[in-house]
Symmetry: C2
Subunit: 334 residues, 2 copies
Amino acid sequence: MQIRPTIVDIARELNLHPSTVSRALTGQGRVGQETKDLVFKKAVELGYNCNQVASSLRKGITDTVGIVVPLINRLFFSNVISGAESVLNPAGYNLVVCQTHDRKEDETRVIRNLLRNQVAGMIVSHSLETTSPELLQRVSSNGVVLVQFDRAFEDLAGACVVNDNFAGAYAATKHMIENGYKRIGHLGGEFNANVYADRLAGYRKALEEAGLEFDESIVFDHSISRDKGFYNMAKALEQKCDALYCAGDYAALGVMEYARHNNIRIPEDFGVVGTANEIFAELINPSLTSVEQNAREMGIQAAEAFLAMREEKVTTPRKIVVPMKLIVRGSAKR
Amino acid sequence: MQIRPTIVDIARELNLHPSTVSRALTGQGRVGQETKDLVFKKAVELGYNCNQVASSLRKGITDTVGIVVPLINRLFFSNVISGAESVLNPAGYNLVVCQTHDRKEDETRVIRNLLRNQVAGMIVSHSLETTSPELLQRVSSNGVVLVQFDRAFEDLAGACVVNDNFAGAYAATKHMIENGYKRIGHLGGEFNANVYADRLAGYRKALEEAGLEFDESIVFDHSISRDKGFYNMAKALEQKCDALYCAGDYAALGVMEYARHNNIRIPEDFGVVGTANEIFAELINPSLTSVEQNAREMGIQAAEAFLAMREEKVTTPRKIVVPMKLIVRGSAKR
DNA sequence: TTGTAAGCGTTATCAT
DNA sequence: ATGATAACGCTTACAA
């Protein structure tokens, strides 16, 4: 453990004052070119590295942005993180990644913690357990830039980046209708979350537009897992469904598994469309038609919204909608 | 943007001294129970949040750990991150995630940046472009705890967490031999990286132990992508291979695609085993036998190694080997 | 152009 | 048990 040199060390060796060294290094304020060169040379010589902690304390703000997600190792979220990182890091910001495991308790802990660390901003997709925007409100009221994404309380201060879930679900359902499926059910998520509510609405719209009945007995809540897909596929068949639009690809996978186990041919006898376009969607047999989320783009948009708000461009759009794209494959084609 | 209360504010309202408030809040040093209660009550009342930046400056160290990975949105790495986070966050540390895109330039930038931010430690899997441990050496010599994982320079200070790639590749190859494949090739990665060198060695060992020839003409470098798997499968067939052990699942996927396009039956005519146990391995048809990396466990071990070194338990193992597990499915069974 | 001095919020080390 | 003081390393007015 070796002592790290400070601007005071540089100043001493050069018979200058720390403030002069600071000005030379940061480029703020007038410094002679010669001294500037001397300072830089000495800095390299001593292996100087600015102490950001001290700098941040003095400036009252850090170059850190917190990103709060339910689970890091879900492809959607890690793609968002990756996208945000690719914008923020070159812009000189650090990204602190926190996961909440979809628990309100963890969410509270990590957000408090980020606040303690004086982050410049937060990019948050709140946990499913979080039903009130209370804590997030505190973020903005503390002067921290807030960007929500995917799951968002839209009436909060700051920006939010969401998928066009309505349009995505609409396109998926319409695709099935056009392929001749007559009784199309829906496996959804928690309908009190904006994401799933919008998908449900898009599904319903497509149905009604086509003159098909919207029937609650073939709409299933909390059904985005593989297990639930498998289980609810059985239920859907009892209700004479011939297709399902699933709000998640894993649910679609469960549906396909049940079909295989029961010799139901996909897409001939039964149609399925998923959401998220997980990696496996194109690899399974038949390949799964799915609505793509464009997670990376959401991360980029969220990061750019942060930068814009940070630099106080008042033109910041409050709500950024990232389009979804229906990736047509084999699971709902006939 | 509202002013955040400090310990000075609490002290003023209570006619105490900031130092007393600090002691009450941190629990370091003697404070009367009554004043302690008063301080806590007032802190809640004012919505006080400790300024970690100031605290860190004073203490000379932060509660932050940097994790440096090539790509965040690769399942292996996001699982490592998730594992590390699950240990570090409850222990009071923040995880700053940085990606290098496997570029030395980015790696240098992020490591410098973490150093500037006075992180307590770094958990690093170095980029493929990085062939010298120079910069990483600086990390330890700056008094920052260094834990390497997966790709590691083993002669550096600090701990490293690696998979038992030798044993994993050995088990995979042996499995194929036991299933009667006679001429087994290998699609590897960059053989100058420890990970791939070890897999090659394990493959070779299994071959030689079984009295099979190790033949360089059926060993392919830089071949862990899907494209390369497809391409080199053709080459391998020219060389009369009847099986391939792939250092990555995507390569194995490419192999299976070529087989399907050319009516080669897997596993009857040709055997394949992959590495990583990606999500799709169990979902494709036939399902892919693969060597599991246990990424989450690596993250946990890396984080625990950091904590141990931080608390100066001298018993810290320098090298932690996480076992790999052969997940037997259908792609090399007959 | 450079020097001086004060201060960011906290905590460690004294003294009381 | 509490108070006083200095210091962490840097930045920024202001003065020279």
